[in-house]
């Protein structure tokens, strides 16, 4: 009887562990995807499930200047381009030095503008620049882009273009 109970307990533990692992979407870092979808639908009237595939790249214009420059440099690299990338510019730019680069970004990629920083009203995982890859309404991958991770972000975008 005791052995039977122990077996049931172990199986139950394994089952719960398996469910937890399967349901844990933090591996793809999409845990704030619901908030991101709400942001897109409420601010841009964009129904993400209706779109095929997009890589949203959220750039905070009022964040730290150096971090912004690193991201702008990547997006403007001559050999770097993906038709799946849509840029979301949040806040307003006060820095004359990068004004030209922002204009260039606007010519190179589709742009969504959030001058009033409405993104902060939603639970999107936004703090640093943010990348969210969606396909058929599902989140495939999302990451907050630390300066040190810019190369891996570049690789991710190129690999998925």
């Amino acid at each position: 009887m005791n052995l039977c109970l122990r077996l049931i307990k172990s199986s139950l533990f394994l089952l719960i562990a398996t469910i937890l692992i399967c349901c844990d979407n933090s591996k793809s870092n999409c845990k704030y995807y619901d908030g991101f979808k709400l942001y897109l639908s409420q601010v841009y009237d964009l129904d993400i499930s209706a779109k095929d595939e997009r890589i949203f790249y959220v750039l905070p214009l009022e964040g730290c200047d150096e971090c912004l420059k690193i991201n702008l440099n990547l997006l403007l690299e001559r050999n770097f381009y993906s038709s799946k990338v849509t840029i979301i510019l949040t806040g307003r730019n006060f820095n004359d030095i990068i004004k030209g680069q922002i204009e260039e970004i606007k010519r190179k990629y589709p742009i969504l503008e959030d001058g009033k920083n409405l993104i902060h009203q939603f639970e999107t995982g936004f703090g640093k620049p943010l990348l969210v890859h969606v396909k058929n309404g599902d989140c495939l991958f999302a990451t907050s882009i630390a300066d040190s991770e810019i190369e891996s972000v570049k690789e991710y975008i190129l690999d998925n273009s």
Partner: protein
Amino acid sequence: MLIIVFGFIISCNKEKNITELAGLLTAPNVDFRDSLDIILNREIRIKSDSNFTYLRPTIFRDTILLAYVKEKENIISIFNLKTKSHVRDFEISPLIHNRDKYSTFYIHNLDSIFLLTSNNTSINLLNGNGGLIKSWSSFDLGIAPLNTYIFPYFLPQHTIYFNSKTNLVYASLIPGYFPTSSNFEDVPQQVVFNLASNIIKLKYGPPEGVMKMKGDLVFPGDLSFPYSLTINERTYISYPLDHFVYIYNNETGILVEKKAACSSEIKNFPFPLPSEMIKDSQAMWNFRVQTPFYETLNYHSKVKLFTRAVHHPQELKEMSGKLNTGKSRRTSVIILDSTLQVIGETVFNDGIYQINGAVPLSDGLLLYSNKGFNNNYAIPSLKYEFVPKID
């Protein structure tokens, strides 16, 4: 064997710190003499054609208010609160305007205005026309490399104090590797330096209380810096998530005493987060949205009272699914006598007391508010004063 013993000692110390931390996050019982209230005295409306933005209005001698014009970016307007009129504008030096985002001012007099900006390693002194007299960086103070220590003045609720008789500036200077460091709790966070010689006279005030005991655990950045208030030879250090105020002699750097200066309504602060959570900016922000926290300690010289506001906890999200903006947040303002004994508490409902939206006056508080005003007024403010509580 030695390693095991050493490991055991470390583990016991951590356990002890966690227990002590839990105790510090709970408000102590204090004698509460509820004898004063804060009531609305009058509304102050100053008409203007421009739209203003300021994170925290700056007031000099209860009369002069500096506000920052958004459209023109580098224009600062001066208003007289008593005559309710616009006095003049001045333009901030392009040397700063093209480099930094403005945060707040410390007005010594109208021809010596310290401008504190997003540049967390410098303090700037402007003349009355906005021209740059001088900038000081932590590098000038002999702290190298730059960014080893930072000034917290990119957050507009923090400010310096300048004593013109001694030429000394009293400022917070925080280790740049904040908030995680093994020896962080031993590093002084206050500095007194001579403006003319750039020589640091005194470093003092390592973290105390909750901030000392939290070890490697973290709070959101803006809730982690010490607030500093200097009155003569005393500097009062308080923290957003600590019920106590720590009083130092700023000539010797010695901690003279600590006083519980807490609300009767907010009994517990949440535990800090594990250090790895710092990478999850949303988790940090969610903590920030929900947690109660204290604002700066204010001194009202004419009535010799202190005030300390504490914002109450709130839900993470509104009904719409959006994050809570705090527009209906409840806030208590505790009133303390000159010995920091609590002698009153006034509760503001419906977000009337906005986060960092109040400026201390010598006899009350000025609350910047958009509620109930139309857009024709540039400086819609509510003046509050202290009155005896009637049972």
